[in-house]
Subunit: 503 residues, 2 copies
């Protein structure tokens, strides 16, 4: 019989349902009354604020400034870039009226007299509206580069939604830049991919592969799309961030032109790049376990939770005072350049401890009169099931930065090992099919992992992949040149791609 877990079902039993239950148990989000839109609850939103703050610092350190552009895009703007409209017209919220009126039956209706001449689209992404603005901002090479980021909400009308991973409305940042040369725009595209990878690995403790997407997986309208790809615990891949080199496609569609140093009028080169609240889905599926969420310290809203234990009223005051003093001492320490984040939970509740386990707080401290007399603490690590060892209060406080760093690193190493253990090189189609065919027909969710195979993008390949429900994630940027043969067509190939089932 398996040990009792805080989350039912476990990952092994039913992975998708486990995910929903972790979101619920950790109090991260819930479904709203609007189809496909979620409510992000305070604990989930506090994680997003930490993500925002850290990423925003990285964007600013690389010379970007924040700005804000309209939520609405005139329908005609979408018509300008042919591939772009193809990619987004199918799933957008369309505003057609600007007033409601009584419908004569006690309810409301959109007022026919307030029909818009041109419908407005709720932005699914902002290349078109921002591009139209940039066209006004750019006159001369002296105005370049333009390096802008926007934190915003976007809407894509998704049929099947799953909290954080795919929702109709989501929060994100979208970077949009304009450059005088293709080379500079390409450098920007790869620089931001690096920023994303550094954030994913350094802050989220989520190992990623940086690579380029194949033609079929490109952003609609882009010349090339790069992504960071992570492997979740069910061995599926998650695209966690993308960076697009848009060439002159959007510049031409939107007339972003500048006079170069020689006085000639040229189209500019643009990029765009984004990550979203989907990262929180990635965070969950990288680290959470059968007892709930596990948070890397750098993103945890509280890195330490202190729970005073007292049986008598006399004890209660004394223990609480001790805990508050300890909190003050801990908050005066730094981890990763910020004051340590500590919370006291003095509620008289039996569930208290398990609530914080399920919410993924890295370090828990239960403190009673005995600990105070002994001047010791028993820090429980969320990333470990080992019995907590006693440590003196002084030692714990002095070393808290090191301890949190150790939790952060151990999460990253554990995730990397899981991924590396599920990564194979596959050199034949038979082997490939076997790798991606579930061993257990009842449980199609846990499958092989990541397969590195030679390939040539082709109709044959894409049909086989569709049949197997596998996708090519990317061609890793650091993949060595290596002669080989496409496992689907036998054609010569000089690089391996990464294949996986994916979210």
């Amino acid at each position: 019989m398996p040990a009792k877990t805080a989350i039912t079902p476990t990952r092994e039993e039913n992975y998708p349902e486990w995910y929903q239950q972790v979101v619920k148990a950790a109090d991260l989000a819930e479904n709203s009354d609007v189809r496909g839109c979620m409510v992000i609850k305070p604990w989930g939103y506090a994680i997003w604020e930490n993500i925002q703050r850290r990423l925003d610092g990285m964007f600013k350190a690389t010379g970007h400034e924040n700005a804000y552009f309209p939520l609405f895009i005139p329908m005609s703007f979408l018509e300008k870039e042919a591939e772009h409209v193809e990619g987004f017209a199918k799933e957008c919220a369309v505003v057609t009226h600007h007033r409601l009126e009584p419908d004569g039956r006690g309810g409301l209706q959109p007022a026919p007299s307030a029909k818009l001449d041109e419908p407005l689209i709720v932005r699914p992404t902002s290349e078109t509206i921002i591009g139209a603005t940039f066209a006004r901002w750019v006159q001369s090479y002296r105005d370049l580069p333009i390096l802008i980021n926007q934190w915003a909400n976007v809407v894509r009308w998704e049929l099947r939604t799953r909290m954080f991973l795919r929702t109709t409305e989501f929060l994100w940042q979208e970077g949009h830049t304009v450059h005088a040369t293709a080379e500079e725009a390409q450098r920007e595209t790869l620089q931001m991919l690096d920023v994303y990878a550094e954030f994913a690995e350094g802050s989220m403790a989520m190992p990623v592969i940086k690579g380029e997407k194949t033609a079929g997986e490109r952003f609609p309208g882009a010349v090339s799309t790069y992504s960071i790809e992570a492997m979740m615990q069910d061995r599926k891949a998650l695209q966690a961030g993308t960076s697009h080199f848009l060439g002159q496609n959007f510049a031409k569609a939107q007339d972003i032109k500048f006079q170069n140093e020689a006085g000639e009028l040229q189209f500019a080169w643009t990029t765009s790049w984004g990550v979203s609240t989907r990262l929180i889905g990635g965070l969950i599926m990288t680290h959470a376990d059968d007892d709930g969420l596990v948070l890397p310290p750098k993103l945890a809203p509280a890195q330490i939770v202190i729970m005073p234990i007292a049986k008598t009223d006399d004890d209660r005051g004394m223990v609480l005072e001790y805990c508050e003093a300890l909190r003050t001492e801990l908050q005066a320490q730094q981890y990763d350049g910020e004051p340590v984040r500590v919370r006291i939970d003095a509620r008289d509740s039996r569930d208290r401890k398990w609530q914080w386990v399920k919410r993924g707080v890295p370090i828990r401290l239960e403190i009673g009169p005995r600990d105070i007399t002994d001047n010791t603490l028993m820090p429980a690590r969320r990333d470990s099931s080992e019995r907590p060892a006693k440590v003196s209060r002084q030692e714990f406080v002095a070393n808290i930065g090191t301890l949190l760093g150790d939790v952060q690193n151990s999460l990253f190493e554990r995730a990397r090992k899981l991924r590396d253990d599920a990564t194979v090189r596959v050199d034949s189609l038979a082997e490939f099919e076997k790798f991606f065919t579930p061993k257990n027909a009842d449980d199609p969710e846990i499958h092989g992992g990541l397969a590195y195979s030679h390939f040539v993008d082709s109709l044959e390949m894409n049909e086989k992949l569709k049949e197997l429900k596998v996708t090519v994630r990317c061609v890793p940027i650091d993949a060595p040149e290596e002669p080989g043969k496409c496992i689907f067509t036998g054609k010569p190939s000089n690089k391996r791609g990464v294949f996986a089932k994916a979210y």
Copy 2:
């Protein structure tokens, strides 16, 4: 002949046009391609980020947590609270379709097959959608209070828009709280009014009057509405923030019920409160002058701009190095608990100085070889037209916090004096009419100011006010009880209200 100014026209010449020109010259925002929606440019957005960071800290210090709720509100939700729908149905963006399709003429159209069963409203404010969520969160008195804030965009379909002051889409924060008793909810309402007043006066250097709105000016659905009111330089009032005690109105409409300690089921008491990007409009009209924006140091994206001056290439390197060392020294100093914000503008541009004047940076430093030899600086204060005095570098660095504090205070005092000088007590209708009748018929924008008068809310009063284009702003919270007679009706009154023309 008047002195030449950086902004044309001046405030005296044409106040509304002066405002638009300041927004443009300071590079704060511009109109977008979407009717009534603005693009907030980096300098304007950086001011908003400072507003956000400071307010967010104040919200968290008073126990509030951030969360995020859907952008869309089902139409039926608006129907539930009668006054609320009356207030917002007239000006909302209505989503009716979730897909576009080719229209057969080379363009796009909302796909008839993708018409929504129930239209969605883009939130004009979120009482209804958040209330529906709170109804699920609240079961017992133990779940209360709920203290939530949301940073978000909202849409109100305004006919006449003006950047920052009134735009179709704007950015704001909306606090939403739930309480077990009326008293606690009222306390919360007034606490947040105090937070707003403290922010306006302490951070924006904008003096405000805290008061209660009359019935006609209440938030649709509220039991009572409080606001902070500021006076702009054209003597008009600007409502800069509101806090609403909603009683049980929304709780009843949305079924927010809880079991009290006695085990009885009760409706809860709710509040809501908000400030928006409109504050930036208030900031401009409180401090800007005929040379452009004037920023209070606490909200300035750069508090000091350093402009190296060099005529030879040799000098250039040396001067820049000196400026960078000075920046490092200044950034190591603190003002108001944060590192001093310094920017170097090393562009070889004749407009450079005036660009920073127009953008309102509190302190400008032009530094050339002579200043370096002398080890002195000539700090130019944006809030003063006095010739800058020489000061030693050491002294300047050591006292920078004091200097910035002095700028902050002098801006507040100047604004307070302007308001107080334009504030009168008016005890007769004739006097009232005279006060609000423009002296110069050609320029109806500059008028009297704030009039404190006795009043009783009545049809007669409201008709007279409409005729004079004057509104009752609020009944100040600290107004003393004072027997008097309504200047419109002669009825007895025991408190004065504040009357003004208003934005």
